[in-house]
């Protein structure tokens, strides 16, 4: 990924920022220019909830270039507690341990290293919620 592009994405990738409509309070992710519910253009940046539940999950046997061959990436639709839905990688979990409804939380993890020795790209992923003692 181009470095400038990655820097532009950092608020979303590191802090899970979306937009919220000042008029109808709809929250969007990815961030929008104009509210897709009411058409208002006055939108504010907002940090999304870091917790949610898995709505669907798949494990990827044939990855894109730039992602390790032979690894099984897991992708999930995640419903966040604030009602926003997004798609992200799951981490710290085996495919057979995943299930619909599983509680997950956001972490920032390495996405990939470009061209072997290029910049290391980090972004949000979701892991099973850790049990607190």
């Amino acid at each position: 990924m181009q470095l400038a592009r990655f820097h532009r994405l950092k608020p979303c990738y590191y802090r899970l920022e979306g937009t919220r409509c000042a008029k109808c309070q709809t929250t969007h992710f990815p961030p929008r220019q104009r509210c897709n519910q009411c058409g208002a253009t006055e939108l504010q940046s907002v940090r999304l909830s870091r917790r949610g539940r898995v709505a669907a999950v798949t494990s990827i046997h044939q990855p894109s270039s730039g992602f390790p061959k032979g690894s099984q990436l897991m992708a999930a639709i995640v419903d966040l507690e604030d009602g926003v839905r997004l798609i992200a990688q799951l981490t710290d979990v085996e495919p057979e341990e995943t299930s619909v409804g599983m509680a997950v939380e956001m972490v920032v993890r390495r996405l990939r290293t470009d061209n072997g020795d290029g910049p290391i790209l980090y972004a949000y992923k979701f892991r099973p919620v850790l049990k607190r003692t």
Binding site: S59, S64, A75
Partner: protein, 383 residues
């Protein structure tokens, strides 16, 4: 808007064309369509293509194909709507004639995917989805379709193996198509043994990466009458979009772009789903075939699989689907597939479909879907 007719079709076989470059495939289909229409040259050329830059380093594809086909100077442009690019090129050509801007034009879809290593093709195709919020995270195009299939299985309580009915049907129909990539039947056992690409999508759920080109000649009513004995009329043409990201949708399985484009096409043609004799669906993955039949109004939501299992999508059946093999077995040269669908529908309506001829057919629906059903193009054709 003026009436628009199809008076010529052309296509190359769909396969791994190691020996033929992008421009040659595009020009070959274009010239075949010109010969079929018995005209000298079109006034404009609309080239449906998704990935010429990524796979061949070539953009400005309108000019390239016009030049290589020997039509220097004409209006020519590339039309891109990801996997629906072919359908969109037909739509652009339709609008050019309907508006009165041109009388005779060509829409050609062309794609060259097999020059790249599979992981690079996979990466390039992921650009049909959201580059920053899906593809960059390593979430492949197949994986996104797999998530839709998971939701579908969960919602409607169907079994993964039930989807085999679309695959078996497509391969059966490809046997009658000399241009199809896979002309051999597959069985439920083959499907059950097929390796996973992104669970629950297996290789046999997926259309193959391939090269190919298909073209149609479109013209106005008066030119059609003077040039052609049996012109096929385009009765409806529409394109609709949805959010680029799958997760931004309120109801993922509703496929609003498909729904909207189908409704617009029915309305323009003055017909209902019941009037359609056969349908070329965008069966890039078997889940998309199911969702397309539902969103296009042929069956209620959740009913596509029982509908298919009852034999309705076979030839003969109440609604034959993918009658020349579909994307699944004819092959899916991405930006060309939407034009192949129209060419195949014309073959059927002309009575030129050989072993897989749909008897007494008069009304066809073709539908090209791009991204995660984020764009859909529907055409209704009649003779």
């Amino acid at each position: 808007m003026r009436e628009v007719y199809i008076i010529g079709i052309g296509q190359t076989p769909v396969e791994e064309h190691w020996d033929r470059p992008l421009r040659e495939l595009g020009a070959a289909a274009t010239l075949a369509a010109i010969r079929d229409a018995q005209i000298e040259a079109p006034q404009a050329l609309f080239v449906g293509n998704m990935l010429s830059g990524a796979t061949c380093g070539q953009e400005n594809l309108g000019t390239v194909i016009a030049d290589f086909a020997g039509f220097n100077g004409i209006e020519a442009m590339k039309i891109e709507t990801a996997c629906a690019s072919g359908g969109a090129a037909v739509r652009a050509a339709y609008l050019a004639v309907a508006s009165g801007a041109h009388d005779v034009v060509v829409a050609v879809g062309v794609e060259k995917l097999t020059d790249l290593a599979i992981e690079d093709t996979t990466g390039a195709l992921a650009g049909a989805a959201d580059a920053d919020y899906e593809a960059a995270h390593g979430i492949t195009f197949t994986a996104l379709n797999a998530l839709m299939m998971r939701l579908y299985i969960e919602r409607y309580g169907v079994r993964k193996d039930d989807f085999a009915t679309f695959v078996i049907n497509a391969h059966n129909h490809a046997r009658g198509n000399p241009n199809a990539m896979f002309r051999k039947p597959v069985t439920l056992e083959d499907y059950a043994r097929s390796p996973m690409v992104a669970e629950p999508i297996c290789i046999l759920d997926s259309s193959p990466v391939a090269d190919g080109a298909a073209a149609v000649v479109l013209c106005s009513a008066d030119r059609a009458r003077s040039l052609c004995d049996r012109p096929i009329r385009i009765l409806g043409s529409s394109l609709a979009t949805d959010t680029i990201g799958l997760a931004s949708r309120r109801e993922i399985l509703r496929c609003e772009a498909i729904r909207r484009s189908a409704q617009l096409a029915y309305k323009q043609a003055g017909v209902t789903p019941k009037d359609i004799d056969f349908v070329e669906v965008h069966d890039a993955f078997s889940i998309v075939a199911a969702l397309s039949l539902e969103a296009s109004g042929f069956v209620k939501d959740g009913q596509a699989i029982p509908f298919a299992l009852e034999g309705n999508i076979d030839i003969p059946g109440s609604l034959p689907c993918s009658t020349r093999g579909g994307l699944k077995a004819r092959g899916h040269p991405v930006g060309a597939s939407g034009v192949y669908q129209v060419v195949e529908a014309v073959e059927q309506l002309r009575g030129q479909a050989g072993d897989t001829q749909v008897k007494d057919c008069r009304l066809a629906l073709t539908q090209s879907v791009g991204g995660l059903a984020s764009v859909a193009v529907t055409h209704i054709l009649g003779n």
